[in-house]
């Protein structure tokens, strides 16, 4: 590592002020940023830890939704988001215990790694991402691999998940990293079914609209029988080809529906 300034403010306003420096970066649980810095692939002049801000902590349930504070760890969500069981289960299966006890929802969503789990949950749930300055619908928030609607220095204060009638997340793990080789979240709401896919596309998390239409009409695995997803834009790497990932999307979507 190398020299950098470290601050740990106790309010969102102080954190936003501290992030005004050009090379300052917000630090959630550091499960991506710290390894990146150790490899010297990033060299922020200042880290602004969000871990000391009480307002960003914890899970609250009410009004038909589960609201997760931006600096809440995956382990806390797994333990406290019981009102949305599929969300709790997803959080409980992210990475390993170290990642779950340090990593935060805000960090995961803001990073928008194309293989991360939380973006699938947020998109499938039609979640609202709240920041220090506005509210952003999940559909507008995720804009491609590692790209989000966040401005420089904008902090995620909470993610609000409307509670579905039924939901399930199926993840085919890359066994070393436990990232999703492909992950599919299916959530059934009164006004329709949403299907979000992570790990598969080079453009990051996306909604499988054809499957949504089919499942909204008929919420059974048979409804997916004639559907196929184009492997053209899928990630191809040593773990699997684009065709393999496209195949997995369908298999996992069926499993998710069957498990709902």
């Amino acid at each position: 590592m190398y020299d950098f300034e470290f601050v740990k403010p106790s309010t969102v306003a102080d954190a936003v002020a501290a992030l005004a420096d050009e090379d300052a970066m917000a630090l959630g649980g550091g499960q991506t940023l710290i390894p990146t810095m150790k490899q010297r692939l990033a060299s922020p002049s200042k880290l602004v830890s969000l871990a000391g801000i009480a307002d960003l902590q914890g899970v609250t349930t009410g009004g038909g939704s589960v609201s997760v504070g931006g600096a809440t760890t995956h382990a806390t969500v797994a333990a406290e988001a019981g009102a949305y069981p599929a969300l709790a289960a997803l959080a409980g299966d992210i990475g390993d215990p170290a990642v779950r006890n340090r990593g935060t929802i805000g960090g995961s969503v803001a990073n928008n790694d194309p293989s991360a789990d939380y973006p699938a949950a947020a998109l499938a749930s039609g979640a609202t991402i709240r920041t220090d300055r506005r509210e952003i619908a999940a559909d507008d928030f995720f804009q491609g691999m590692f790209e989000t609607a966040l401005e420089d220095g904008e902090i995620i204060t909470a993610v609000d998940f409307p509670i579905p009638e039924a939901a399930n997340y199926q993840k085919f793990k890359q066994p070393a990293s436990r990232f999703a080789l492909v992950g599919v979240m299916v959530a059934k709401y009164p006004d329709g079914v949403r299907v979000a896919v992570t790990g598969a596309s080079e453009n990051g998390v996306f909604r499988w609209k054809e499957a949504e239409t089919a499942l909204t009409k008929d919420f059974r695995t048979d409804a997916l029988m004639d559907l196929d997803i184009n492997p053209l834009n899928m990630i191809s790497d040593l773990h699997g080809t684009g065709e393999y990932r496209a195949h997995l999307v369908k298999v996992l979507t069926k499993r998710a529906v069957a498990t709902c």
């Binding site: 010297r40 692939l41 990033a42 293989s115 491609g144 691999m145 790209e147 080079e202 053209l232 990630i235």
Partner: protein, 174 residues
């Protein structure tokens, strides 16, 4: 990784050709290019900063033009070292065809990275390379002959769904 694509530019072939040899236009088109000096004959020196997720790397290197057939085609290639991050190398074979005052620019891109970038980011490199190539030609097209907003890009396989493509472009030029 390799990718191909083409774009139509509402300008005659020589206009597009001159732009392809213009340091200022290339600088504006290369995503993240902070500095670019030199000329088409001797090559350019460039400083490019890229931020992909948590990774931020600045590459210093050279951009050279080769296999030049005046007004018709060339190869543009760049090679840069990003300090501890590793190195990146990429190029594109570019060809111009004109019909009725409209030029079709076809390209074939190849890219390679090495060092830590390659060992850590293997699953991401293809996607990133596609995105950057797409941005380069999009920027270039806009620098030469800006299009109206609602016209869809016509590149065929740069690897992005039309819907998302629009979002990215809007973001870049808004």
């Amino acid at each position: 990784m390799d990718l191909k694509g083409s774009r139509t530019i509402a300008a005659d072939r020589m206009t597009v050709w001159r732009a392809l040899n213009d340091a200022e236009i290339l600088k504006a088109a290369i995503p993240g290019c902070k500095e670019m000096t030199g000329n088409a004959d001797d090559g350019f020196e460039a400083t490019v900063t890229q931020k992909i997720g948590p990774v931020k790397a600045t590459f210093k290197g050279v951009v050279t033009l080769s296999d030049v057939i005046e007004g018709e085609s060339y190869r543009i290639s760049g090679e840069g070292k990003g300090g501890p991050a590793g190195y990146a190398r990429g190029g594109a074979n570019v060809r111009l065809d004109e019909t009725d005052g409209v030029t079709t620019l076809s390209y074939e891109v190849d890219a390679k990275v090495g060092g830590k970038l390659a060992s850590l980011g293997a699953r991401l490199i293809d996607g990133v390379a596609k995105k950057l190539a797409d941005q380069f030609f999009e920027n270039f097209q806009n620098a030469v002959a800006p299009r109206s907003d609602d016209e869809a890009p016509d590149d065929d396989d740069t690897g992005r769904e039309p819907e998302k493509k629009k979002g990215l472009i809007k973001k870049m030029f808004s």
